[in-house]
């Protein structure tokens, strides 16, 4: 696809979402159904009150995988395209 036709296709923000979520289901609220979803939760223990001088605490990472997941749009903050291999 040439650059000209690509930019003419994108006229509103939702078009970018469409590009990111091609092959997936979504609507205007950014509700979406994702296949092979992976959730990563990163936690930093907050121990700033202690002697660490504002150093952030220990990092814990949890991941969960879902074969098929509906995500409610109101908790969506950002949508980005998948990394290309």
């Amino acid at each position: 696809m040439s650059g000209v036709s690509m930019s003419s296709m994108i006229t509103e923000p939702l078009d970018l979402v469409k590009l990111c979520l091609d092959e997936q289901a979504y609507d205007q609220h950014l509700n979406m159904v994702l296949e092979d979803a992976k959730e990563t939760v990163t936690n930093f223990e907050d121990d700033r009150d202690q002697v660490n001088d504002g150093e952030i605490g220990e990092k814990t990472v949890q991941t969960h995988s879902y074969k098929l997941l509906f995500v409610r749009g109101d908790s969506v903050v950002l949508v980005s395209p998948p990394k290309r291999a």
Partner: protein
């Protein structure tokens, strides 16, 4: 409306709700409305030790807005059909936003 129709096709199937307060509830979907409020029956709370107040409930109604994720049964969903419906809905929305007189009347 797209996801309302989609969830309607899943009535009677087992789903897991992950709520915004970190409660996870598994149960059979019995009803869904346009706000994606859901009714579940025969529920099981995954982290019940943390939320014992839900332990004795069998049937529940969950307000749609407190749901974060819904874990869906992969085998029960026709993803190709869902993609098709998404494209149609997006097209319709776009026509409406561009003020297409044909769709404005609808």
């Amino acid at each position: 409306m797209l996801f309302h129709s989609f969830f309607s096709t899943l009535i009677g199937k087992k789903i897991t709700l992950h709520l915004k307060n970190d409660v996870s509830i598994e149960g059979t979907l019995t009803s869904i409305d346009q706000f994606l409020n859901v009714k579940l029956e025969d529920i099981k709370v995954h982290n019940a030790d943390k939320y014992p107040h839900l332990l004795f409930l069998k049937n529940i109604f969950v307000r749609g807005s407190v749901i974060r994720y819904v874990d869906l049964p992969f085998e029960e969903v026709d993803t190709a059909l869902l993609q098709d419906a998404t494209r149609r809905e997006a097209q319709l929305l776009k026509q409406k936003s561009m003020g297409d007189p044909k769709t404005l009347a609808v």
